[in-house]
Symmetry: C2
Subunit: 378 residues, 2 copies
């Protein structure tokens, strides 16, 4: 994070923010925080938002203040940034494998003896590595068995393997078996409500069978954690999941906005945008073209490019540092040097391209938050 490259100061007008910059609309952001918590209130479900979406300690603090019990991370270096920022309950919802990586995780947990640090496993060799690392660092880790409930990315499917992992974890004094990690990632982006209902019903049945097998083997399974922004209402209502992990809900993106919405579900608003400057403009017989100063290095395109937050313009091309818009209907004119807002296609890898979130209320900058875990891939 380079202080020289900070795009705004508190009190700046939004139109004076340097570009490209991530702009967080605080009213919408706070609304999203409240919508999530009130949607699951009274259901006895714990909320552990996924911080890989925002990578920002200040957002995690606000999620905790709104009632979250902790956060998820995807990497040890990410967890490090949040523990350093005072978040004391962090689950790495991912496998950590190999002596170098397990040693680093155990050393991190040892540095924060008052914090809860959790990690997922899907292989007994990783259990042994984690235990050795914890013994060496004189610390303990919470461990969750990753169950593959349909995502087919990591995790075990076989009930026998779940029980064997449970026994392996329990046999280690330095590891505490907490339960199951049962996240169905692909289900988040199934467009129809019916498909998502079906996917999470199947995931719930698988998780429940694994939990019963652990308990039947005399093992504990107090926590079943999973769910994202596309399905969390289903896991929350399942009676089986004890914890949900939505991440994108605070900021949203084009991909999530494509999901068919249940009327009874909270309607999250797009709170994060990318502010750009019109750096080249052509208006002649052939073209009505505006070129913006943000491209592949300011937003990811894995779910399509960032799109204009206004009518009348479409994306014709994206390169490293440019997005070319061409007029395709009625909408605002774009002036050379003027600002234009884009909506990100996929929030998580887009935020990871920036060092700062410029938090605005109305047309004024209220705060500039560092993205401490940007680039925390280790």
């Amino acid at each position: 994070m380079d202080e020289r490259w900070i795009p705004a100061r508190v009190g700046d007008a939004v139109t004076d923010v340097d570009t490209p910059a991530l702009i967080l609309d605080l009213d919408r952001f706070e609304g999203n925080l409240a919508r999530l918590m009130s949607a699951v209130q009274g259901r006895g479900i714990r909320v552990r938002p996924h911080a890989k979406s925002h990578k920002c300690v200040e957002i995690a603090r606000r999620q905790m203040a709104a009632g979250a019990i902790g956060i998820c991370c995807q990497k040890t270096s990410e967890a490090e940034a949040f523990l350093a920022g005072g978040i004391t309950d962090v689950l790495i919802s991912n496998e950590v494998v190999g002596d170098r990586k397990t040693a680093r995780l155990a050393q991190l947990a040892a540095r924060y003896p008052g914090a809860k640090v959790g990690v997922c496993v899907d292989d007994p060799r990783a259990v042994a590595q984690l235990a050795r690392a914890c013994e060496h660092a004189r610390t303990q880790l919470d461990v969750y068995i990753e169950l593959d409930v349909g995502h087919n990315r990591a995790g075990v499917t076989d009930i026998g393997a779940v029980v064997a992992l449970g026994q392996a974890i329990t046999s280690q004094a330095s590891l505490v078996l907490r339960g199951l990690h049962a996240y169905f990632g692909n289900a988040q982006h199934l467009r129809s409500i019916a498909e998502r209902r079906q996917a999470i019903a199947a995931a719930t049945a698988t998780a429940q069978a694994a939990q019963r097998a652990l308990i039947a083997a005399g093992l504990r399974c107090d926590v079943i954690t999973g769910a994202g922004t596309g399905t969390f209402m289903l896991e929350a209502a399942s009676g089986v999941y004890t914890e949900i992990q939505p991440g994108s809900y605070v900021m949203m993106d084009i991909d999530y906005a494509k999901n068919e919405q249940e009327l009874a579900w909270p309607a999250f608003e797009q709170s994060l945008m990318i502010l750009t400057t019109v750096m080249s403009r052509r208006k002649d017989a052939q073209h009505d073209r505006a070129t913006l100063d943000a491209g592949l290095k300011s937003f990811s395109t894995d779910s399509g490019p960032a799109l204009p937050a206004f009518a009348g313009w479409q994306v014709r091309g994206v390169s490293d540092e440019h997005t070319v818009l061409e007029r395709n209907g009625a909408g605002p004119d774009l002036l050379l040097g003027g600002k234009a807002l884009l909506i990100p296609g996929h929030i998580d890898p887009t935020v990871n391209l920036h060092d700062w979130i410029v938090a605005v209320r109305g047309d004024r900058v209220e705060a500039v938050w560092p993205i401490e875990a940007r680039g925390a891939i280790f």
Copy 2:
């Protein structure tokens, strides 16, 4: 750049490097440096490599040592990183527009009075902004008129507009008209030789006409700069271009490797790879699956995902921090905790995701270079 997250130390075995990490094969890298310079030797063409590909001061220094006359950047903040690193001739091959941005550029040039700093323009309003900023900072800038030679992203096409811009620049005591920026980006990725030849022939004719018009109007046009890794041999042979700007050639990627190659052209080798760890492994009746610990936050997918650098495996899915490989033929086994190399699809936005380049010779780490201009989007 966070020193805590450095993936390797000098002398480490490559297999001990923490992952995900960018691995630069120094033998191939040095070969690519030499191949470029010898390919254009004796043609009277100057080489100004584009540093937006690597964003690394040490690589720029080596390009200069091999005979480059300076570098290109795409943003003022990028130029700042290279000037701070001792590169004293930097062309921002892009427009810089608006009072805040032009002020910053002029202040940067003023901080390095011994350096040459250039910028592109395609609008007289930007010329006026640059001049005001330079007067205020008591400095001068080299200015290039961006000519749209087919890329249709920025730049002017009309010869009258070229001459008007030339006059506007020349009328400002703080601006020095250097010539034309005539880069045909899309042509770099045209697959067939014939298409690239045709595109650059047309670009050359356009550039020559613009140059003649400037000279006829009593203006100077000493430099015509452009070209990338896919076409630079054509610009070098054009007799019109005086300077080429290849960037990807030092590291290469899957997209460039898809181009049909002329036999007489230098055959650049893939020198940059992404080292990953197998973090989950499934081998059963249904699956032979290896999940790697690198995803959308370790490589960009705008030109397709990173692909295995070894046979027998294909990419089945990519998410934020995972790439799922599935076996599809004969090839090495992948073991849990073992390492796997991926070839990036598109080098520029991939390098921008990392803080460090791990430079290796054979199986040993020879150096670890910071990527100083990572995230320099302003």
